[in-house]
Symmetry: D2
Subunit: 341 residues, 4 copies
């Protein structure tokens, strides 16, 4: 039994993480730190969790103090640019740190600068922090790591189907077009007219054309798997969902539907976080809401010579907090699905 | 002042059409026929229209009887396969017929057979019925036609931005990838578990991969404009909107953003049904709800060599009934926007 | 043909008002003033209105300058407490002022202080500014007034059914229980976590128990109609709608259903803003969206001895901007429904 | 460890029940019977449950066969009128039966006939089957029962706050007005135009005025607690939620807010299924989604002499399947919250 801590527990992924950890069979105690709610009772800020953490209050999110606490694993559910300032001292204090932010997702400091508009505070760390999609698991060494980067929500929906195909050469890295639809919790908890109910209900739009930050992450990981440069056209869309991402990929490819499924089966057979749907059946977002899995399927369109892949995840579960718990489970030797059913 | 008639007035596009015609300055009288509601008061079936058509009842949708009535223009808001059986006798009786169904949208009977799974009842008509996107207006002769095919909702969102670019050779017809997001009224008014609130809320999915019927319409019209074969990868998605279509197109092209806007300006300047947004600003569906216009913009992504076009329409207005009224206006010499503001 | 002006045109009711006035047959020119958007093009701030007001920009909302402009009627779509500072100088400059805010809805300065938490700036005006529900029209003298108070959204849904029954003694003023459900535009356009999509979707709650400001307005007007004190228990609820109010009233009463309908018919027969539904059929909010009318019905529950009344309006139309235009129409001698169809 | 069975597992409450039982620590095996899906894989019909019940198929819902199976407890998630035909043979075969339908909720066969429009098939059973709100627990004897009736969703939201106050005489049974707002899953899984997304989104309405079946259940149980007749005016409303019930009660009463809370504390202190909110703070539905609890609060409105009570539940959890599992837990001696966190 361990003690887990969360920094940034008041956002949407923080809340889901807290909910998961509060009923995790291997977690005995939880510390929750918040930059905004220090001193308040968790139940008052997050009424969904009423009864789960009686008496627990948010503690101050001071990196030094947190580093001094007896906590086995810290989860950082913080905005990018903020997480690094916690990750370093916590790691140096010997804690395991699982970072849900974007701060350590990229390998290349130059790429970070281009997409995030600032120099990375500890650029030397980037190539050393493992980026972990647990089912892909290319870097076995991550199970020794003391700081782990969790993938972004869009990249999770894209990379799990894509990486084995790129690695095995079933598809090439040219001309890939990716369109994703996301619910509004993907943007975080914010005071904003644009994200108000009256503005988001009954509206859909594309955004971030050609420059969304998750694009860098997708291309870098895809390139590693392919063993060469991969360029994708990635267009995210905002739709009136609270939770969920649906992704549609179009890939110029002569691969047969069968070859695609064979490759997926070879890599993913028996993995609980992966659900293959029959060719021709596209996944919906709702069946994966609250689930730590990605559903996907493929169809080779002979008429156009394209391979079509569609996937669905819950952005707060497999796309964030569920995956983070899965990473903890594997890193600490617990059952992979512990606390995730 | 004319008398207008609607067959199929109880569906969603029929209702919007009735609403538009009921306050149209050139329409004096409206006849509404329904296969399901014959004899019922319009207001009881369509309470939104209360006070608009006092005393009006649905009449029986018998083609022969309708043909005998003194009606200047008949709108067919019927499922495909049904409309043709009304269009022919009404046209033969000397009426103007504006068909909102898919029955006369394609030119090629073989294409019809492939996508609609049946032989067309009057295949010889297909090449003779004009398919009219009013702002595109390639076939001037349509203003003499007695039967006119209105474009489908997805094709309207796709073709208005695309056709001038193909015609002028600003883009080529290779490798076009189109993703569209649609609200549920696009599927019509139906008793169905899949379309129930509890199933559609909080869910998004791709459907009709590689085989949606609007694909045939898009490719045929795009090919006519381009003067050669055009193949597109078209993937529609269903999202929790009542109304609206957002379309994202990725087109391999060296064209500059400027060249694209110049082409659009040349074709569409001053047309009230077209609104160009600045490059980099993607349209949302809600601002076009209830509007007979399409909003669109373009961005050349130099990093990938793709041109990105995003558009938004209201599937029931510019995508169906608004466009049908606009067609009537132009065909009968009324102001283009009469009854559409 | 007149010139109309709006102060506060960038909020939800301001936008609807602008949309209505922009196609109003008696309105030639519109001036739009905004405290936040001065200098910006209306179309950029309110893309729904693209093409309606080409070239129009928001002007500065300075009361003195506005008073000096040649405008026939000013609509104030402003928060309470702000409107009065515009109403007085505009009225003194000889303009007709139609106030959509709460500033002149109450008659009693003491009541204003209790519910709004501040002294009214011009308390002497309160009893002199007519409060106008056009179909009720108790004060014929309002057609001479230069400042008119438009009712609140909840009160409109409550008072139109209630007032004739109270006035004619069909019901008494004791023990009335009112529950209303409102969409989120009722709260205005605001940057707020509480009103964000992710917080409001899939949630419903009661609020303002025993103290909502519209309660004062309901009781004061009900008391005037009844000729004595009326006390109501009014509980508003927030539900995931953009627009719409559904109101349910429970009134201890021995009145028969017939007596209620007879009273309503006597007062409202032929009025386009009123739609009586048959007893036993409760109105829905959606059929009245975008409509300047209230739908209502009644049922005497013999088992309990209560009269049940249910009503529905669009909070932005009959509950705000549509009613304001209707008031202008009647005040200036235009057709009652001009610009409202 | 036990074997549990569900009849009617394909509806919304059946699905939630299956999800709960599939991760219940005391349930070893689950049998799922369906009248519509016999022979199909559970995962294909209910993709949310993918991975939970690998290989499990719906069995035929034949009462005789089910009675012969080795199942410790059967849950009936069936429409009223159908459940009784299963309950009797299963009970006679010595199984524990927990009925989520309305078939055994009323005590009085005459009341059943009036509200359900048919004679009860086994009227003699009605007074013998315990109706169990676990926190209220008036009938200790239910822990021996072999057939147990689970309360309806609306009644659960009403009775848990109300019963202690009636029993202790804190309030009387006169003039109680109850308004409830419900999400659409409350109506079950159905093919219906009225319940389609395009009809329910952006709409709210009252229904079942003066005659909803849950009224009978509320009055009968309230009368038992009060020791005399209780009449309530109950008006349910349908709002665009998938899940959730928000209830507002107005009760003529001189009781102080403190007296109400003291009574609740006395009855419910420490019960995990009850969460008291501070007076003046009304519960929302979303924080209770997926939770087996009811949140409620009270406010004495001195101005009107009414006591106001607001409550919120998840209609599929505390209002149906969660409560059914809680009942099983208590009946079989498991931890009250087993499988419910």
């Amino acid at each position: 039994m361990i003690t887990a801590g969360i920094v940034g527990a008041s956002g949407y992924s923080g809340e889901v993480l807290l909910e998961l950890l509060s009923s995790h069979p291997e977690v005995e105690r939880i510390e929750v730190a918040s930059r905004s709610y220090s001193g308040k009772a968790v139940e008052d800020v997050l009424p969904r969790l009423a009864g789960r953490l009686p008496g627990t209050r948010f503690i101050e999110a001071d990196p030094g103090r947190l580093a001094a606490m007896e906590v086995d694993v810290w989860f950082l559910a913080l905005p990018h640019g903020v997480a690094a300032a916690y990750a370093m001292p916590l790691m140096e204090a010997g804690r395991l740190v699982i970072d849900l932010s974007a701060d350590f997702r990229l390998r290349d400091p130059e790429l970070y600068r281009r997409y995030y508009g600032a120099d990375h505070p500890v650029p030397g760390m980037l190539s050393r922090v493992p980026y972990v999609l647990p089912e892909w698991d290319a870097q076995a060494a991550w199970k020794e790591a003391s700081l782990i980067a969790c993938p972004g929500c869009y990249p999770t929906s894209v990379l799990l189907p894509l990486l084995p195909l790129l690695k095995e050469g079933v598809i090439g890295g040219e001309g890939i077009v990716i369109n994703s639809l996301s619910g509004v919790t993907g943007a975080g908890k914010k005071e904003s007219l644009f994200y108000s109910y009256a503005e988001r209900a009954e509206s859909a739009l594309a955004y971030g054309l050609g420059k969304h930050r998750h694009l860098a992450e997708i291309e870098e990981q895809a390139g590693i798997a392919a063993g060469g440069d991969v360029k994708v056209q990635f267009t995210p869309h905002l739709v009136p969902l609270m939770r969920g991402i649906a992704t549609t990929m179009v890939i110029p490819s002569a691969a047969s539907t069968d070859a695609v499924y064979r490759c997926w089966e070879a890599h993913y057979a028996g993995r609980p976080g992966i659900r293959l749907l029959p060719s021709g059946k596209s996944p919906e977002t709702r069946p994966v809401t609250g689930r730590n899995r990605v559903d996907f399927s493929a169809l080779a369109d002979e008429r156009t010579g394209n391979l079509l892949i569609t996937s669905a995840i819950d952005n707060l579960m497999k796309g964030a907090s569920g995956q983070a718990v899965q990473i903890m489970n594997l890193r600490l030797g617990f059952a992979e699905q512990a606390g995730l059913r």
